[in-house]
Subunit: 245 residues, 2 copies
Amino acid sequence: MNLAEAAERIRMAIRSKEFLVIVGRMEVNYEGRASSTLGSGDRVLMIKPDGSVLIHRPTGYEPVNWQPPGSKIEVLLDDRLVIEARRVKPREILRIIFSKIYDVSSYKLRDEAEFAMYATEEDMRKAILMKPSIIEDGFKPIERERKAGDIGFIDIFGVDSAGRLVVVEIKRRNATSEDVKQLVRYVEKIEEEFGKRPRAIIVAPGVQRSAARELELYGIEFKALSPRRCAEILREGKGLERFLK
Amino acid sequence: MNLAEAAERIRMAIRSKEFLVIVGRMEVNYEGRASSTLGSGDRVLMIKPDGSVLIHRPTGYEPVNWQPPGSKIEVLLDDRLVIEARRVKPREILRIIFSKIYDVSSYKLRDEAEFAMYATEEDMRKAILMKPSIIEDGFKPIERERKAGDIGFIDIFGVDSAGRLVVVEIKRRNATSEDVKQLVRYVEKIEEEFGKRPRAIIVAPGVQRSAARELELYGIEFKALSPRRCAEILREGKGLERFLK
DNA sequence: CCGTAAATTTCGCCA
DNA sequence: TGGCGAAGTTTACGG
């Protein structure tokens, strides 16, 4: 494809806020928070209506180079076709130099659909707060996101049926030994603050082998709870809310 | 575009390991580590030769849904065109249901170029090890990635010209109060271990306002060093290496 | 294959 | 606007 023709089509598409897909042979240079260079090769370049820029090689999940939403696009043409995407804060520039253009396509895309994600860690916390008995009978949450000194935040802080303090750490994936260590640090902070050692419970779908050892070692409890079960609880809760209105 | 025709082109492209770009109106469902649903809308779907799958909405850096490299792609056609991308470990399935196809393109892309990223945190460490005087005259590194008890790793551990121990923490971005606190924890660990308090230096392009307070408070030193300067030092070093051969 | 740390992380929430 | 923490994080690098 003719470079001049390509340049014109690209300029038009950007002006009319279309979703651009450009396939070609290009070099890429990036300068900003870091710096990178990428020699000549065939790639797919996407320029979105919001100023996002993505350059994808033939392999991998991540783009090899990119510019986040809001960047300003410039199309330059002399002997070669160059596309620059600039950002001011932080100051970054992405320069794409084409030696061949295989394809330029642009689309007006309409996408108003809602994206719904189920069972994040936040969802798990909500589910526990909505139905604390899934941790154990008589468990009463007191605070969420409680500050533990300067080392972090306790997911849920509460008391059990016997009145003992309980520190709950939630993970949507299997708990690691790192997670256990973090929880131990919270326990120590709470012990400093209240003068007595709290119970500590990791709530997660499972525990990694290495973490199981540490649970034993530090006297941390484990309560199995899957994100899926939390999603169910939230659905029940929503149904209830609607019923009560 | 005809759905049956599209299905055939997509199957062909996948068989011959081409880079696929499909633009159309689609619904998306994901089930795996989490779950998500996305209603009907216009999007760009990319399927890479290595089995990566990316679905991009008209805005944002991140794909709304995806499947990492190595997933198995299936193209199903009855009354609708459905593409499924499956992964076994962890078990995940991405299902894309098309109601319209605007465009199907596929490409044989050749990209053997080397990607070079300059001045990561690792590069900064290398630069300091290569030329310790950029920290201060007489600074001698002893160990890198030194374990500090069970709380983490010290970037560079060394001694100054007066023989005092020095703990160096490197950041490629401005240092935060969290970084200072982490360094303080290292200092305490080293003091426990050696029975004397080491000097502690944060090496970074700058410090956040909140961190500046804490530097004062804990007696932590700061040495300004930009990733860019480190990249220069590494270039000089490489030049030297070549010269010495 | 597990574990750890970094990332041009991005993204969302909240002060 | 900045700070903080999660993410279907991914990726790279050890052991």
